[in-house]
Amino acid sequence: MSNEIALGAGAGLSTELASEHHEHHEHHQSFITKYIFSTDHKMISKQFLITGIIWAFLGGLMSVLFRLQLGYPDSHFYWLQDVLGKFWVEDGRITPQAYYALVTIHGTVMVFFVLTAGLSGTFANFLIPLQIGARDMASPFMNMLSYWFFLAAGLVMLSSLFVETGPFSGGWVAYAPLSALRDASPGSKSGMDLWLISIILFVVSSLLGGLNYIATILNMRTKGMSMTRLPLTIWALFFTAVIGVLSFPVLFSGFILLIFDRNFGTSFYLSDIFINGVGALPNEGGTAILYQHLFWFLGHPEVYIVLLPAMGMASEIMSVNARKPIFGYMAMIGSLFAICILSFLVWAHHMFVSGLNPFVGSVFVLLTLLIAVPSAIKVFNWLTTLWRGNIRFTPGMLFTIGFVSLFISGGLTGIWLGDSALDIHLHDTYFVIAHFHLVMGVASMFGMFAGIYHWFPKMYGRYMNNTLAYIHFWITLAGAYLIFWPMHYEGLAGMPRRYYDYSSWESFKQFAELNRFISTVVIITFATQLLFIFNFFYSIFKGRKVTTKNPWGANTLEWTTPINPGHGNWEGEIPEVHRWAYDYNKDGREFIPQTEPVGADESQH
């Protein structure tokens, strides 16, 4: 199907409607159709990005607040009380209820809103049509809906911060019974209702987006763009979408059962547990483990939803800036595929200490450790891509290399945690926090930063400031290691996560200064992110203008569009593709764009 039709067919089903729609975009665009209810994938991606940045700011701020409690448990911050009010801060200290709420909402916001919507929402929307040579998504309308559901999810979550009993405070995993029982904690009351509504809206948004990404990649590639000529970004975003489409519905089922337990007195997760002040529950025979299974069936693939786009972008940016073909293109695709399959087969490694049958546990250990194989393939391919490359240290490239570093550091501890025997000791300690923050949290953030710095010229037709970017990179990289490295030691010593105050525990008193050190670094690193936010918004309006179509000397199709592409991306025909995306330094030429026909005496990929 040709792209012209697809763009039209996306907007309306009948051809008449399509041409109507097309003209509408070519001629007059009001502020509302251009910036708010836009169906242009590039505008939607910017909406996702800026909403994601706002959420990253809020989520990061929350971590600063609870780190204040952890690092300075004896201090009183009276000024905070004036700013945040009595629910959050009392007598100058973060209240226990607020502490748990902050931890919960920080996790939820970062995993779902920032690293899922902000990352794959932004870059799938932006890069898929541009890199495969399509004028827009398969269904631009669904794409717009996807953003609006995401925004609604965010607003509902935001509103939960302001209810009287506070936002949900039972951890981002929302385990029953804390999530199923209104009387379990103040946060389990209306805060949890809003949390559930928000996440259900978010699931709808993800599904609408994910379906669209897959349909676009499989159906709307330009002439000559076979699957094995796709840039690795597209492959990664494709598998991300597949994982999302298959795993989010299962989370949805789990939430429906949760809603019935909360509101209609059923006993899926709740049993006759005894609660202080309430007595025994009337429920019978429910099992909280069932919720954990349903949750982690999404929850584990979710970490790959977060990580794969960063992997794809890292591969692309690294190849462009090392001026070398990516090492092992097919192995990269194969390992993405392997990760995609394995991600569905390992969920119970989150539940080793839940009373899981040790035999079942050993199967999950094996499958979990198998993930090390494709991960290692990817790491070695990145390292061999860098090897003897002609590296240009652009901010995007630095963040890419930082991503690989963090992925290795965090990934190695995954081998420890994936072992069910070691996990008995390490489960629910700071070791876990250190592991997943490095390998999926900060690493994916680095992938996101790399993508923003690299594609900012295409998004806004301007560059971001390099000096600020370098300061941002070095402080963030050092900060990430200084924050999370010490946590490994705390975790090995058995320091449990999610505790409000460690100073009253004889075993963990020794870490008071280490905790203060971590908290101080958190504040500095968070302040550095403000530098990035300033750089981002300043550069949109005042950044140095891009003067050539292809500033990085890259091969992929997005750099053949005009500097500020309109809706439809290419003026005139969509270019035809003749080669893969990684012909760098081939036959004595620095780069050969994908649109250039293969010469008679040239070897073809």
Partner: protein
């Protein structure tokens, strides 16, 4: 010109919207797979009651199978441009869809009258699962009814005439899917009880 390109390309590649529908179906399948596997896990634990399915659910199975046949005939009529027949068949399909939803409701009402506590305090998960699974399926059928009505009225617009069978084909795919899904769920709930 656009229409020409579209028809010439249709033979080669699946329409993106149809493809979207198929993937949406895959995702709905995952949701029900999640629920039915939760059902199996729960059944193997203590406190599982044997709940008899209402015989009304068998009648509703016949109704939805017939509606699938009328849907198929409606699509054929549309392609043959027999618009009157198409109109009638779609109306019958919509009515059958609503009858199906009503029968499911009657089924639950009958079970409740026979003393089965479906939800609420003291209810058993065996019964509550039926409400969740069958209830979610009914919502999907009702979604199909809405989609049918929309395509139905769009096909009769006078301002712009559309001869494209794609929208109605997509709805019919979905309709057959919820039919097959119900047959699976019915057999599953009957056997796995």
């Amino acid at each position: 010109m656009m229409a020409v390109t579209e028809t010439s390309n249709r033979s080669k590649k699946i329409h993106p919207h149809k493809f979207l529908m198929w993937m949406g179906i895959g995702s709905i399948c995952m949701m029900f797979a999640g629920l039915t596997s939760a059902y199996i896990v729960k059944r193997n634990q203590a406190n599982w009651e044997d709940v008899q399915l209402s015989p009304v659910f068998l009648y509703s199975t016949f109704v939805i199978i017939i509606s699938s046949i009328t849907m198929y005939l409606a699509l054929r009529a549309f392609k043959a441009r027999q618009m009157l027949q198409y109109k009638n068949l779609i109306t019958i399909t919509v009515i059958l869809g609503l009858v199906f939803a009503y029968l499911q409701y009657i089924g639950f009402k009958g079970m409740a009258n026979h003393g089965v506590l479906l939800i609420g305090p003291g209810s058993n998960a065996a019964a509550s699962f039926l409400v969740v699974i069958i209830g979610l399926h009914v919502l999907h059928v009702l979604g199909g009814v809405v989609a049918l009505l929309i395509t139905f009225f769009r096909a009769f617009r006078t301002k712009v005439k559309s001869y494209s069978p794609v929208p109605i084909e997509i709805v019919s795919t979905y309709w057959h899917f919820v039919d097959i899904l119900w047959i699976y769920l019915y057999i599953f709930l009957y056997v796995a009880r």
